[in-house]
Symmetry: C2
Subunit: 324 residues, 2 copies
């Protein structure tokens, strides 16, 4: 399983390949939250989300022979684009299995990076089974979206940056709010912080009604979501916490938080107006919790991960009209 | 006048106060431009534009006695916010003279930073005369938007970063496209590049119909714009090139470029979709030239400054619907 040595090794492989994303802030957001708010803008990572870290980490960790045969991934969109571009930059083919209702912008971007895209029905088909069967048939290396030690190590490199950037900002004790689907980003960051910034405590943030991780943390074992579609935060809806990620979160994370779709959209509009960054709703839930759950958070400062910014322009424009 | 020593001194004063903004890129933008496109995202600077560099540089360079009496600035918006916040963080009062038709978001943000805002009519009143009279009456230090050696030095710190970041990207010969109003950013960057990256050549970019700098460069002496309102790129419309900035540009800049309002809006929509950043139209003209004037640009790579991201949400949403 992933440990700090794997995370620092991943950071060495990612150096010059992934971006060191900036830590942003605005006095307007501080005023809303009632404390300092630092926003780690992973939406500025290559392909518009943190997923590029894990994709690069996993593909670069494959043995050259396995890598040459190509890779396969299944994803609601951000992992798809990330694996597609990371594979292309390694010079190897990629097959991406995507839900048929994924935003057009994500389907089109994945194809544009040269990947072969196969569609499935998110409500009726099991993407894991589809992906694993295809991987066997075609001899492709499966790059899982979160339950893979090298993917978790790659996402953990964001945690190394947070530890250093928080220190530069004079913040040594704070909660770190992380948008959580399968928990790869949250688990990777939690492991990095445990080793490098023990005063920073990880909290997961999910959409209300799809808060499997928060409920699992509350009862101490994995529980499932009742449904898998119907949230505007589609990018971070997963059936249940990961097998590798949940034990890490159970050990290291504080109680999970959840926000409504409208709160995610409002945070998206505030990130537009006050940070000049583009977030997708699922990438804005941690910022939403930082802004709108002040009583559930401890400390003079809070760090929120803005995890992705691949959003349909019509949805984004409509949210600006409602909330900006 | 500003020189490289003043720029490096400004960089020392700005360290830890202004952000080192990232250099972004996307294979989608490279494909449109037909060459590598590197985007220096000054829209991610504090207050959403490069202006914070110049404001901090000028206020921090004042003698303590002069600074304590407070500062005054006149601006269409980005310089206003920048001076307001930089003054507040120095603990001194600020009076900002703004055009009555400036976007609400900029008026409101300037007031929220604690500044006193005075409005004037952009078509009928002379903001320089208003600002200078007020400065005299109230004993305020005037922070000019571009024709001030310490402001130009502050903007030049972006050029120091570009020189280093371009080298990190393996780019040693390229044109650097800079959104140009009064020319403070362009002149500061040109001076920094002359000293630190002589293979990088500066080009100014303006809105069509408001291309006073391009026409002035063509004839070798300053010429004025016929009108001062009517462009969606309001942030970078000025009467004529600056007295301090134009001689620098005449010596160091290549021929000026100009783009249409629609091209600026299209670049804004592409920056949203491909870089996940928010630009205002005037902050997108350099990117627009990089994407839509390929035949006017030389080299395998081009660097474009994204200079600001303070944009009305309704205008932004409408541009996404038309162009994204």
């Amino acid at each position: 399983m992933t440990d700090i040595a794997m995370i620092t090794a991943a950071a060495a492989r990612l150096k010059g390949r992934a971006r060191v994303t900036p830590m942003l802030s605005s006095p307007f957001l501080d005023a809303i939250a009632g404390r300092r708010v630092l926003v780690k803008a992973e939406s500025l990572q290559h392909t518009g989300s943190f997923k590029y870290r894990g994709a690069w980490s996993a593909i670069s960790a494959l043995a050259p022979g396995a890598r040459a045969g190509g890779v396969i991934a299944f994803s609601s969109g951000n992992h798809a684009q990330a694996v597609a571009l990371a594979a292309a930059r390694h010079g190897v083919p990629a097959v991406i299995v995507m839900p048929a209702d994924a935003p057009d912008i994500k389907l089109e971007a994945t194809r544009a990076h040269g990947a072969e895209v196969l569609l499935y029905d998110r409500d009726r088909e099991d993407r894991d089974a589809i992906g694993e069967a295809l991987a066997r048939e075609r001899g492709l290396a499966l790059i899982r979206p979160f339950d893979d030690p090298q993917v978790i190590a790659g996402q953990g490199t964001a945690g190394l940056e947070i530890a250093a950037q928080a220190r530069d900002e004079g913040v040594t004790a704070a909660e770190v709010l992380v948008c959580c689907g399968g928990g790869g980003l949250a688990a990777g960051i939690a492991l990095a912080l445990e080793a490098r910034a023990p005063g920073l405590r990880l909290r997961t943030v999910e959409p209300e009604g799809f808060d499997d991780t928060a409920r699992s943390l509350a009862v101490g074992q994995p529980v499932r979501n009742d449904r898998l579609s119907g949230s505007v935060c589609d990018a971070i809806v997963t059936p249940e916490p990961g097998k590798l990620t949940f034990p890490v979160l159970r050990r290291l994370a504080g109680p999970g938080l959840a926000v409504s779709d409208d709160e995610a959209l409002r945070a998206m509009a505030l990130a537009f107006a006050r940070l000049q960054i583009v977030l997708e709703p699922g990438g804005a839930v941690a910022l939403a919790a930082a802004l709108f759950r002040p009583d559930r958070i401890a400390g003079d400062a809070v760090i929120a991960i803005a995890s992705g910014g691949n959003v349909d322009p019509v949805l984004f424009g409509a949210a600006l009209l409602r909330f900006a």
